[in-house]
Amino acid sequence: MSQNAYLPKLGRIAAIKEEVAGARAIKTFRIEFVNGDGFEHDCGQCAMISVFGKGESMISIASAPHVKDYKQFSIMRTGRVTTALHDLNVGDVVGVRGPYGNKFPVKDWKGKNLIFIGGGCGLAPIWPVVQTAVNERRQFGNITVFYGGRSSRDIMYRNELEKLKGDVDVHLSIDAQEEGWDGYCGFVPANVMTKAPKADNAIAITCGPPIMIKYVIQNLKELGFEDDMIYTTIENKMKCGIGKCGRCNVGKDYVCVNGPVYSWAALKDLPQEY
C-alpha cells in the first residue's frame, strides 16, 4: 500500500489479557500485523488503533522495540473506540497506523540508574523502556520501579512485575490498606519519598495521573533530581497523529510529533494546555 499516513495497516489480535476489571477496565492486546505489513517503533511511541465503524484512538505501544513479532497495547475502556476494542475477541482484525511521536532517549541513558515511577494505567507508556532496560540489563545501573494502583485489583502487569524482581527493585503500592497486602500503602509519590532513590547518575521516568506526576516531580526535585533528569509523557486529544489536525497543539509543539515524551526541563516551558 502507498505512503498514505492515514491508511492503517491491519493487525490481528493474537492475545487479550484482562489486566484490571471494573469501571476502569484495562485489557492488554497483543496485535500481530497481517499481510507482511508492519513498522518498527521506539520506546515511548504510540499508534492509532482503528475499530472500523467506531473510529480511531491513539494508544501507547507497550511492548519493547526489540519485540518484533507483535505489538502490545494496554487499553483502558473509556469511550466509544476503547469500548469497541474491549468487545473484540482474539482473531479479530483491527487497523493500526504509526508509529507516532518522539521517543525516550534510552540510548543516552546507558550506564545510568533508571528509576521508573508509574501510577494506574500510566505504566503502559513507560513499560517498553522498562523492558528495554531489562533486556539490556548490563548496559544500565540500578533499575528501580515504583508502581501503584488504587487497590490490589488495579495493579496491571502483576505477573510481569513479579518476574522482574531480582533484576530490578520493584516497589508496589496501593492507595489504601487491604487484607493480605504486604507492600506499601499510600500514594506513589509518598512511596518514592520513603525509599528516597539517589539522584546521582540517575534518570527518573514517570507517568500516571496528572496529580501524581505533579507530586512525583516535586518530590524528585527535593531528592536532588535536576529538570533534565526527569522524563514523562503527556496526552492530548489526537486525530491525525502527524501534526496536521491541530488538536494536540500546545504552544509551538504538536504532541503527536514533538511529544509525547518530554523531559521536565522541556515541559516546564510549554503552556499548561495538556
Binding site: 469501571a23 473509556t78 469511550g79 469500548t83 469497541a84
Partner: protein, 344 residues
Amino acid sequence: MIDVAALKAHAKSLLEKGSVRAVIGYRKSTAGLLAEPATIADADATDDLIFDPTCVQNLALYLVNDKKERVHSRSDDKRPIAVVAKGCDSRAITVLLQEKHFPRESVHVIGVSCEGTGVVDARKLAKKLDGKKALSVNFDGSEAFSITTEDGAQSIPAAEVMAERCLECRSAHPTLSDMTFGEAKSERALHAPFQAVKHKMKDEQDNRWAFWARQFDRCLRCYACRSVCPMCYCEECVVDSINFAVLPDTTADEKADRIKWIERSPARSETAMYHMVRAIHLAGRCVDCAECERVCPVNIPLRLLNTRLEMEAFETFEYNPGSDMNAPTLTSSFRDTDPNSFIR
C-alpha cells in the same frame, strides 16, 4: 426615546452598591457597526454602555454563558447579574426562567422598550446606503433612525432598515423586568406577525423543497446559529455535539453509547436534520430574536424556518413563548381540543 444616560446611571449605581455582580449590556464595537455585548463589572466602565439601534444581540445568551462559567469557576458569589433586555431578550429570559435555567432572583433585568422602532438590519442598511459605510445609527424620534456616514447624518424611516423580526414584533416592550427604560407602545402599526412564513407557505411544495435544499446545501455547520441561541443551552446537543457532557461518574458505556443521529459532514441530509431538529426543539421556545439568522455567515433564512412552528404555537395552540414563566411548556402540555383531524 431611551434615556441612555439614565440607563448608565442605573447600571453604575447597581455596581457601586454591589447589588449585582456585573452588568451585561452593549458597547461600541471595534469590528464594525453593530454593538458588542459587554459584561461590565467595574462601575466606572458603565460609561461605555450604549443603547441604540445597533444593539441587536440577544443578551439572554450571556446569562446562559454566565451560568456555565460560574459552574466552571465554582464561583459562590450569590449576587444577581444585571442584563439589559429588549422585548425579545426579556422573552428569552422568561423562557429560561420557565425552564428553571436559573432562579428569578439571580438576574436583575434592565428592560429597554423598543417603543415604535426596533433594531437595525445591517444588510438592509448597507443596501440602503449603497456602498457608503455607516459609522453609527441612533434613534431619531419614535419612528426613524439617524444614520451617520462619512457624508454626515441623515434620517431614514426606521421601517426601511429595520430587522424583519422587529417589523413583525408582537411585544416590543419587555414582559419581564426589574427596571424599565422607555415607554410601552401598543400601536406599532408595522407588519402582521408571521408574514414571511405565510408567504413561503403559499409556495408549491416542490419549490419549497428546492428553496430549502439550496439553503441546507450552503450551510457550513459552523453552529453559530445554535451557539447564539439562548435556548440552545444544552451541554451536549442531541443532533451534533461540539461539547460533551461528562460528569466524574459518567460511565464508559454512556460515553460509548452516544447516539450519532447525524454525521458531521456538511451534506444536505445531515444539515437538514440538524436544522429541523433545532426547529422542533425551539417550538414554543423560540422568541423570535432572529439571532440565528443574523449570525449565519451564509445568510440561511433560519428565522423563516424557526418561526414556522412558532406560528403553530401561537395560532393553533394559543401559546406565546416568553409570556409566562410559570406556564408548562408547549410540548409538555396539551389540550383536549388540540387538532386531531390530521390523524387518520
